[in-house]
Amino acid sequence: MNTVSIIVLIVLAVLTIVQVMRISEISSSIQGGKDNQVSEKDNDTQGKLLLLVGMGFVISVLVMYWAWGYHSLPAPSSEHGSEIDGLWNLSMLIINVVFFIVQPILFYFGYKYRGKKGTKAVYYEHNNKLELFWTVVPALFLAVLIIWGLNVWSGLMMPENEEEPIVIELYAQQFNWTARYSGGDNQLGYATVHEIAGANIVGVDTKDAYSSDDIITKELHLPVGKPIKFEFRSQDVIHSAFFPHFRAQMNCVPGSKTYFQFTPTKTTAEIRQDKDVKNHVAEVNEIRLAKGEDVWEFNYVLLCNKICGAAHYNMQMEIIVETEDEFNAWIKEQKTVAETL
């Protein structure tokens, strides 16, 4: 039934188009239009439409900023995050200024110089000064962005530590995350896929001295204000550990280790009081209640951000940022590798 109605719909659509074409061809031949050439009237209509639709697009971008701009992630919850956001804001400012200048000019020129009978275009081949100008000006702005960008980047990738960071391994597999804390010695024990068996899901080598105090958990607790050095591993395909609220992301590559370090600055309790987060939660819960779903409470979350298979869209881990005391209390309750394996 459905198939038949779809086919009928398509046939009807095609017939409509045929009729519209016939009419347009006949009317253009009545008006003396020669082999479908553009007329002065076309130029006028299309030029005006270009201005109208073009400016409509530019205005709709403003509307989108107003309507959806607040969907953007809340202020970062990590130290380096605010540096990224500073650079982000400057870059966004520059590209938006260019956008809101260049697009209207394009559409306005399209309208202003729409073809008219009896006018002749100006023969204007080149102007070296003008071209030099718009080579040098973007270059200057880019120089600022490049220099600042590289500064932020090297700060992120090669952080200078005043205190020794806490080492935590994040272990990825289809389709879940596991955390391994390095314990009192702050050294992760050796691990390899060859040791994976039963409860030893991350393949830690129990004979390695560093491994005995390691702690394997399915929840990621982080102490606020402490630098944390993540080591990433994957056992099967490439995953990507994406911490949007902390402005952090790193791929987990089977066969090698990758690293990323950041310092959380807001506990989960604190971020829940953030104005933007509160609004976000309220909006989401309104939607969820209407659909009869559970009320949602904000939590930091770790996502997988590299296509990894069927359940890629649901590979997540809760992150709890807490005070140092709370963190210490929690970690004391956890069992070490020596106790579990």
Binding site: N2, V18, M21, E25, S28, D35, N36, V38, D42, Q46, G47, L49, L50, F57, S60, V61, M64, H71, L73, I84, W88, I94, I95, V102, L106, F109, G110, G115, K120, Y123, Y124, E125, H126, E131, W134, T135, L142, L145, G149, W153, S154, M157, Q174, V193, Q235, V237, I238, P244, Q249, V253, P254, G255, I287, L303, N305, I307, A310, H312, Y313, N314
Partner: protein, 598 residues
């Protein structure tokens, strides 16, 4: 110099003597005539385009209404959409094949294959390509690869599903996802044929442009289309072989147990015997092609729009030399920026810095191009053909999408939006839309040259406005999804309550996508209707300067009935003072005291 040109003429006259009687097979199937081969590429590209766009509409439906049942999904996908609900594996397969088809089959072969073949001999004043046989072979390899790619859709375990970049180990291990079985093998075979075809074509284009220009057609008098096709071909020849090697190594990892990309893998309850390989190696090889590929797609579109904008503004293209210079600069830089796709793979931070630097440099020649287009419109006498509208649309999308590249090219900012919908928005606008707009502009503009008839302009207008509005309607809102942190390639975003308030945007995007997709039917109808029923075209319907409009409307093997025209000026003498007409074709000798300047 003189010997070369006599030899050249000799060769071209020789071509003319071959006027075989043509039957259906030699004319339409095993043709070696560049114009017919161009049309073969176009029609095949269009068919692949229909498949690619339809796939996107299916997965857009799923993204807007996750977990809801649609009979149409079951109709198209069968067992992959039980009870009308799409299987997550099928979602990934659709995304993968949509990307592969659009990037390679439509925007590489369909765009560059069509217009390089059609225009290179016609615009440089050659009787045909340097090697007609290689040219035909290039099309047939492309055809073969299209057939294999389509065939892979019907494999029991599903087509390749690891994303169009098919990163191993996901794409290497059938245990990781069903699509990495036979479907993936066929994908690799298809791409191998594709690359062979593309290389044969590109070599031919390069040789033809270098050796077979008519008398007077110096490199600085070439239309910008030819510059774009020429540089595109050079990019293809230098980068596609690297993808071929990447594909072959992947095939060996899959089929004969080598470990180029694989190491230390535990999957399906056992440790695999691979050791010592690196998945990141594949990414380096892939993106060494992948980034030039972006410009292999984009440059022909920019070349086409340069030609269309100059012709229809009735003005010389502004800053011809700067335009050529920026094409060359973009092409050069495109080889040293591939790492910006890999900022978060854990690469050496110093490398990240280098790639940030080179990537942001590309903004400079791109800005020059955009400003030069706009200045070409300034004080023009713009003729709004559908081709012109699409070209202006291209400038708009090129600017919009190019600007977000400044964010993504910056390694520190990329961390934040890498692999989110922000990226999807960026590359669809700057590469997808710009290239497809360029392709439409090319079809509308050169349709009279291809078929001797005109396309219907009212339908062209309707097609443009619907496409322009819906295209932005689909891709602009995706920036906001990305800034909210939504990753791409998610089957649904219902697993994270933090994304619940984005559902409305997804619905809106899907509406635009479906309207935009249906609007393409206008184009397809107009195209086929006009082939047979369109009004007969005059010899030079757009009053353009370049040489293709000096050939008769009816196609001849060898293009010109008499001698090949001699060129006296560049292709952009529009509205030149001292001439009554607002165009002076390239084969018109200089008036007394007139300086060519080029």
């Amino acid at each position: 110099m003189s010997t070369t040109s006599t030899k050249n003429e000799h060769f071209q006259d020789h071509l003319m003597e071959h006027h075989h009687k043509e039957n259906f097979f030699t004319k339409y199937i095993f043709t070696m005539d560049h114009k017919m081969i161009g049309k073969q590429f176009l029609i095949t590209g269009m068919i692949m385009g229909i498949v690619g766009v339809m796939m996107s509409m299916l997965f857009r439906l799923e993204l807007a209404y996750p977990e809801q049942s649609f009979p149409i999904l079951e109709f198209f996908l069968g067992k992959w959409a039980p009870d009308g609900v799409m299987d997550p594996n099928m979602y990934l397969a659709l995304v993968t094949i949509h990307g592969t088809i659009m990037v390679f089959f439509v925007l590489t072969a369909g765009l560059s294959g069509t217009f390089s073949n059609l225009l290179i001999p016609l615009q440089i004043g050659a009787r045909d390509m340097a090697s007609g046989f290689m040219n035909a072979l290039s099309y047939w390899f492309f055809f073969l690869s299209s057939v294999v790619m389509i065939a892979s859709l019907f494999v029991e375990s599903g087509p390749a599903s690891g994303g169009w970049t098919v990163y191993p180990p996901l794409s290497a291990l059938p245990q990781a996802m069903p699509g990495s079985g036979t479907g993936m093998t066929l994908w690799l075979i298809s791409m191998t044929f594709f690359i062979v075809g593309s290389l044969l074509g590109s070599l031919n284009y390069i040789v033809t442009v270098i050796n077979m220009r008519t008398k007077g057609m110096s490199m600085t008098r070439l239309p910008l289309t030819i510059w774009a096709f020429f540089v595109t071909a050079v990019l293809g020849v230098l980068s596609f072989p690297v993808l071929l090697s990447a594909a072959l190594l992947l095939m060996m990892d899959r089929l004969i147990g080598t470990s180029f990309y694989l190491s230390d893998i535990f999957i399906g309850g056992e440790v695999l015997s691979y050791s010592g390989g690196s998945p990141v190696l594949y990414q380096h090889l892939f993106w060494f092609l992948g980034h030039p590929e972006v410009y292999i797609i984009l440059l022909p579109a920019l070349g086409i729009s340069s030609e269309v904008i100059a012709t229809n503004s009735r003005k010389p293209i502004f800053g011809y030399r700067a335009m050529v210079g920026s094409i060359l600069a973009i092409a050069f830089l495109s080889f040293i920026v591939w790492g910006h796709h890999m900022f978060v793979t854990g690469m050496n931070p110093f490398l990240g810095s280098v790639f940030t630097f080179t990537t942001l440099l590309i903004a400079i020649p791109s800005a020059v191009k955009a400003f030069n287009y706009i200045t070409t419109l300034w004080k023009g006498n713009i003729q709004y053909t559908p081709a012109m509208l699409f070209s202006i649309g291209l400038v708009s999308t090129f600017v919009t999408g190019g600007l977000t590249g400044v964010i993504l090219g910056d390694s520190a900012l990329d961390i934040n939006v890498h692999d989110t919908y922000f990226v999807v928005a960026h590359f669809h606008i700057v590469m997808g839309l710009s290239a497809i707009f360029g392709m439409f502009a090319g079809v509308y503009h050169w349709f009279p040259k291809m078929y001797g008839r005109m396309m219907n302009k009212s339908m062209g207008y309707a097609h443009f406005w619907l496409t322009f509005i819906t295209a932005y309607g689909v891709f602009f809102p995706m920036h906001f999804l990305g800034m909210a942190g939504l990753p791409r390639r998610y089957y649904s975003n219902t697993a994270f309550p933090m994304f619940d308030n984005l559902a409305d945007i997804n619905v809106l995007i899907t509406y635009f996508a479906i309207i935009g997709g249906i609007a393409q039917l206008i184009f397809i109808f107009n195209f086929f209707y006009s082939i047979w029923r369109g009004p007969k075209a005059s010899q030079n319907p757009w009053r353009a300067n370049s040489l293709e409009w000096t050939t008769p409307v009816e196609h001849l093997h060898g293009n010109w009935p008499g001698d090949v025209p001699i060129v006296y000026r560049w292709a952009y003498d529009y509205s030149k003072p001292g001439y009554d007409e607002d165009f002076v074709p390239q084969n018109v000798p200089l008036a007394e005291g007139e300086e060519s300047g080029h």
